[in-house]
């Protein structure tokens, strides 16, 4: 298991630029999620539940910025808004899906975090935890078989709870056997819904499992953007260079409920006030100011600009049509003519 510390010497101008870019991704994700949370609470516009990645932006975005859309494959999970922004998913996709607008990528058929554009390498998660890992592996396997894998990688993430599924185990083992360029980021946010880690697994750390699977393991303080960036850069580079699957565990705390319906009263104050409970966004902001990369007022200006964009998107999406059951094509097949009629 590897933990990379970030020293002053790491703060090259190049690293500073990457840090700032990643920070802006995190900031945008946070503002988008704040907006959807507010819309959820005011009622009427959001269809169904809302699931946020607040507090996980450094870890999610830190991976996302290493990936290239058009080349790599990414299967974000429930708390990966920052990774999605980094990968280049449009804001429209986010709001159209949450608000159930017909023009969105899911066209009202699926919602919230279950969105994606598989043809663009952005897979659309199903709810069943653990299920995406093998699918990413399959994408990579097929590309390798077709001789067009190059140095592309596939990445997905999972929570502490999701690591208890058979699907997770089977997929990681398979990917290791095939030595696929797969990055699995485990966002260990201490709770799976209400279930604390001591009811979820008995190993000391989840990254210990890497050895059992025969893959490279990395561990990071996921509230620290610098460490996330440095680690994911190294892990992704290793996968690109043929080093096989990489398991990256990030320790942090979910700074929201499981969904916006949940007040997370089961999270003890002691954990909230521990190092795990630090807000990665605030930490990064302080770092930026301390290192003189930008001033507080510049950061505020960026936020104001992004907020304007977000508000405009929401206004646009609110006016868009919603799905119409009479125009809906009630077919689950891609091939026309496969549908049977059911006598009513």
């Amino acid at each position: 298991m590897t933990t990379l510390e970030v020293a002053d010497a790491d703060w090259t101008p190049e690293f500073g630029r990457k840090y700032m870019a990643a920070f802006q991704v995190m900031q945008r994700a946070r503002l988008m999620e704040n907006k959807i949370g507010a819309l959820y609470r005011s009622g009427g516009q959001v269809v169904g539940g809302v699931y946020l990645g607040r507090g996980q932006e450094a870890f999610s975005g830190g991976l996302g910025v290493q990936l290239q859309k058009g080349k790599d494959i990414y299967a974000p999970l429930i708390r990966d808004q920052a990774g999605r922004v980094a990968f280049g998913e449009e804001e429209l996709d986010f709001f159209r899906t949450y608000l159930g607008a017909a023009p969105g990528p899911m066209r009202g058929r699926d919602g919230n975090i279950h969105r994606g554009r598989p043809k663009e390498g952005l897979l659309a998660m199903i709810s069943h935890l653990g299920s995406m890992v093998s699918v990413v592996a399959g994408c990579l396997l097929a590309r390798r078989m077709a001789g067009r894998l190059g140095d592309a990688v596939g990445a997905t993430s999972i929570g502490d709870g999701g690591t208890s599924t058979g699907a997770f185990h089977e997929a990681l083992n398979l990917a290791a056997v095939e030595k696929l360029p797969l990055i699995v980021s485990v966002a260990n946010n201490q709770f799976a819904y209400s279930t604390p880690n001591d009811r979820q697994f008995a190993c000391e750390t989840l990254v210990d499992r890497a050895k059992g699977y025969g893959v490279r393991g990395w561990s990071v303080d996921a509230t620290d953007l610098a460490q996330c960036l440095k680690t994911f850069e190294a892990a992704v580079a290793e996968a690109r260079a043929g080093g096989g699957p990489q398991l990256v565990e990030g320790c942090l705390l979910r700074l929201s409920g499981h969904g916006e319906h949940d007040d997370a009263a089961y999270v003890p104050d002691a954990i909230r006030h521990s190092r795990l409970g630090q807000d990665c966004l605030l930490r990064a902001e302080k770092q930026i100011v301390a290192r003189g990369l930008a001033s507080e007022s510049e950061i505020e200006q960026w936020a104001a600009r992004v907020q304007k964009e977000i508000d405009a998107v929401v206004v646009q999406v609110a006016r868009e049509p919603r799905p119409d059951p009479y125009r809906e094509r009630w077919e689950a097949f891609s091939v026309r003519g496969m549908v049977e009629g059911f006598a009513e």
């Binding site: 269809v47 169904g48 539940g49 159930g100 899911m106 009202g108 058929r109 699926d110 919602g111 919230n112 279950h114 199903i126 709810s127 069943h128 935890l129 653990g130 709870g161 999701g162 208890s164 599924t165 058979g166 699907a167 799976a192 819904y193 209400s194 279930t195 009811r199 979820q200 697994f201 089961y266 919603r322 799905p323 119409d324 059951p325 809906e328 009630w330 077919e331 689950a332 549908v339 049977e340 059911f342 006598a343 009513e344």
Partner: protein
């Protein structure tokens, strides 16, 4: 004291824990948190060590329940949503469903499936899985539609020496209320005529019973008396009661919320056709959800599942024949 369908499920689990030391509850977030829907609220405190939080491991959860049952326990498993039981499918159909037949060892486990659609839930938090499990031998499938049945049938399920798939409908959790709990009703395997009628029979179960009753109300305005039968359990399927109803009405529509290919409604129609052809005045009809995954947006969701409107239309068609 009035109680909801959901509270009845909680109360039944309280009663089971209280009266049978072999009972324990196992599932994700069911301990202190009381479950995603609060169906086990407060139970871990009242029964320490017997209401246990599981990891997110449906396959192992079912396996553990089966092992415990072999040792004489009577576990009640909670799936967080019915949809996730697919991950435990192998243990359910191949281990639980075959155990007694292969070894003469009973398998008294109850698996609670929070089932069915609610608006905005999408393809993976809305499924009705009674048909898929009913297809396999060795599993009892119950589908309570009332507060009383939710309570008593859960207790009956725990008492039964066979594996029971307990399909509880999420749409009824809070909507359905009773002023008080009634006495013990019919046993598992017996359907109930909820509303007697003369002109046609609607056979339904779970949440669809209530849609069917509303359709019957609508048609009453046109002077039709529609009989509504609540199957209560889809396996065993009470063919006897259905035949009696057909003998009175001569027309039958079977309504189910699960997908249309095969399943409970097809089974009902097949049995009626084979055993009561001579009693029928019209071809038996069935109505299910559409043959696509369950949509997220309420506009689509409402058109996907049978509703009072589509049931009424189908009945009109049936009555005109």
């Amino acid at each position: 004291m009035s109680l909801t369908y959901l509270e009845a499920i909680r109360e039944a689990q309280y009663e089971a824990l209280n009266t049978r030391p072999e009972v324990f509850l196992y599932g994700q977030d069911i301990g202190t948190f009381g479950g995603a829907f609060k169906a086990t609220k407060g139970l871990s405190k009242e029964f320490p060590g017997r209401v246990i939080d599981s990891p997110i491991s449906e396959d192992a959860m079912v396996g553990v329940a089966i092992g415990a049952a072999i040792e004489g326990a009577r576990p009640i498993l909670e799936m967080q949503f019915a949809d996730f039981s697919s991950v435990g499918f192998n243990q359910i159909v191949n281990q639980a469903g075959t155990l007694f037949w292969r070894t003469q060892t009973p398998c008294p486990i109850t698996i609670r499936l929070p089932s069915g659609g609610t608006p905005g839930s999408g393809p993976f938090h809305s499924q009705s899985m009674e048909s898929i499990y009913a297809h396999y031998p060795g599993l009892v499938i119950v589908t309570p539609a009332t507060v009383d049945d939710a309570y008593w049938m859960l207790l009956d399920s725990v008492d039964l020496d066979d594996p029971v798939i307990f399909c509880e409908h999420k749409f009824l959790y809070y909507h359905l209320k009773a002023d008080a709990l009634g006495g013990r009703g019919l046993p598992i395997g017996k359907a109930r005529i909820v509303r007697p009628g003369r002109h046609a029979t609607v056979v339904a179960y779970s949440a669809m019973v209530h849609e069917a009753l509303r359709a019957a109300d609508e048609l009453a305005l046109d002077g039709y008396q529609i009989e509504v039968v609540d199957l209560r359990s889809v396996k065993p399927l009470d063919t006897e009661t259905l035949l009696g109803s057909i003998a009175r009405t001569g027309r039958i529509l079977c309504v189910g919320e699960s997908f249309p290919w095969g399943g409970v409604t097809a089974e009902v129609v097949a049995r009626i056709t084979a055993e009561a052809f001579h009693l029928l005045d019209a071809p038996p009809m069935r109505l299910n959800s559409k043959d696509t995954p369950i949509p997220y947006h309420p506009n689509l969701w409402k058109a996907h599942r049978p509703t009072v409107t589509t049931i009424t239309e189908s009945l009109k068609h049936l009555l005109r024949y």
